[in-house]
């Protein structure tokens, strides 16, 4: 236990915690997006409602849910911790500072912190809108009705799209960076990591964004 604590106290250890929790959250995104895609099944939301009911009642899923929350917490804490130390490492900044083109916009600290903050904020509001009512609400509307109502509201729908775009940005850096931090990013596997990364930073956010877009403009 002591050595585990020491491991996560070290700079590299913290980063590894962040990477592992991040990658774990990525796997959750796959599950989430697959269920959400059921919205597009042309059955008036029957299948979607069924799955949602299953997800909120199954014991295994509910256990994983706890792990998922733990993952979010670890990811956030390690992220904030790393960020604080990084800020302290350069108390006096430069007058003129140009990051090289090696560092794309998504990898730059302001982008990482902004996207992290926005995604975090989104997560909370998302939980309040959908997750809490379905899980704890004594009486709630059918999930499909909730989603279609929410996404038909332009404010909520557009906020959702923006948030998902930032999630994409966050993952554009985060997914590949996790492999670097875990020491798995080598020349040999670079192509594989880069291809997988496209799924996470481009395809999944697009799929998420497709839902409000569908309810807003195409229905």
């Amino acid at each position: 236990m002591k050595s585990l604590v020491k491991f996560f106290q070290s700079s590299v250890g913290k980063k590894i915690a962040m990477s592992l929790s991040g990658l774990f959250l990525c796997t959750f995104l796959i599950v989430h997006v697959s269920i959400n895609l059921l919205l597009f099944v042309n059955d008036g939301g029957a299948m979607y409602n069924e799955y949602s009911a299953f997800m909120s009642s199954n014991v295994i899923i509910r256990t994983i849910e706890i792990v998922l929350f733990l993952g979010i917490v670890i990811h956030m804490i390690s992220g904030v911790w790393v960020w604080l130390k990084n800020r302290a490492s350069r108390p006096i900044g430069y007058d003129t500072y140009k990051l090289s083109d090696n560092a794309p916009l998504s990898s730059r600290t302001p982008m990482l912190t902004t996207s992290a903050a926005l995604v975090g904020f989104f997560l909370v509001s998302h939980l309040i809108t959908f997750w809490i009512p379905t899980r704890f609400g004594a009486e709630h509307k059918l999930p499909y009705v909730m989603v279609s109502e929410a996404f038909s509201d332009p404010t909520l729908g557009i906020f959702y799209i923006i948030a998902v775009a930032f999630l994409g940005f966050h993952l554009k850096h985060g997914f590949q960076a996790s492999f670097q931090t875990l020491g798995l990013k080598t020349k040999r596997y670079l192509w594989l990591i880069q291809s997988l990364a496209v799924i996470f930073w481009l395809l999944i956010p697009l799929a998420f964004a497709a839902m409000p877009a569908y309810f807003l403009w195409f229905r």
Partner: protein, 247 residues
């Protein structure tokens, strides 16, 4: 060529410091940036003032002494060279050039553009070696090392310890420097015995010195005068995990 220079002047560790503007005239485009500073300093001395202090020595890009942030880039605008190798033809005539010291909590400023990089020394002392003693070693050819492995170790060993990676990193992280040494010795058979201990000790020392964490934006690699790859950082991370799991 003529230039306006905006140079950081700071009397000592505790002084607040400020930018001072100078002008230099009739500089040859073939002169190096440090030679331009020599010209400036001789002018300053003739005026009876204290010249600009900056670290430099070999002036051929290998000793790692020099290191200035020039117009916002460590070692200036060109890739793969140290400050001393930068020639004035890389700038446009009449421009203003901003010259600043390396900035990081772990590199306190001693005077003007001279910083204290002894944190690197302590990281090296924590484990940047093979604990062999003089004498009592096998014949040099006793252990063959595959050429690609030796070459990769050499890529890492080319580090000149200038600190440009720290200066360029938005987080003031020393990961590229530390990983270059860890990687070199992890690749070579001679480094295997102490592999587990080495990476843990060097990372612990790096953390204690106040360097930031790597946020994988690879600015270090872009500014490294020896073009050391961030793949070595990946190897350091791998070594670290291996040490914790296997060690």
């Amino acid at each position: 060529m003529n230039f306006t220079l905006k140079i950081w002047r700071q009397k000592n560790r505790t002084d607040e410091g400020r930018f001072v503007e100078y002008t230099v005239k009739d500089i040859s485009p073939d002169a190096s940036l440090l030679e331009m500073l020599d010209v400036l300093n001789n002018d300053i001395v003739r005026k009876g003032e204290d010249p600009v202090a900056f670290d430099h020595d070999c002036r051929e890009g290998i000793c790692g002494s020099c290191g200035l942030v020039i117009d916002g880039r460590s070692h200036g605008p060109n890739r793969g060279i140290a400050t001393c190798e930068l020639r004035m033809r890389s700038f446009r005539d009449g421009n203003t050039i901003v010259v600043e010291p390396w900035r990081a909590k772990a590199f306190p400023i001693i005077k003007d553009l001279v910083v204290d990089r002894s944190a690197f020394e302590r990281i090296m002392q924590a484990g940047g070696y093979v604990s062999t003693k003089t004498g009592g070693v096998p014949d040099a050819n006793a252990i063959p090392i595959p050429k690609p492995v030796a070459e990769e170790a050499m890529d890492a060993a080319a580090c000149i310890g200038c600190g440009a990676c720290v200066a360029a990193c938005p987080n003031g992280s020393a990961m590229l420097f530390v990983s270059a040494k860890v990687s070199q010795l992890a690749l070579l058979p001679q480094g295997q015995v102490e592999r587990t201990e080495r990476v843990q000790r060097m990372v612990a020392r790096m953390d204690a010195e106040g360097f930031g964490n790597c946020s994988n934006n690879y600015a270090c690699e872009a500014e490294c005068p020896k073009k050391i790859s961030v793949e070595h950082i990946a190897r350091l991370n791998r070594e670290f995990i291996r040490a914790k799991v296997a060690g």
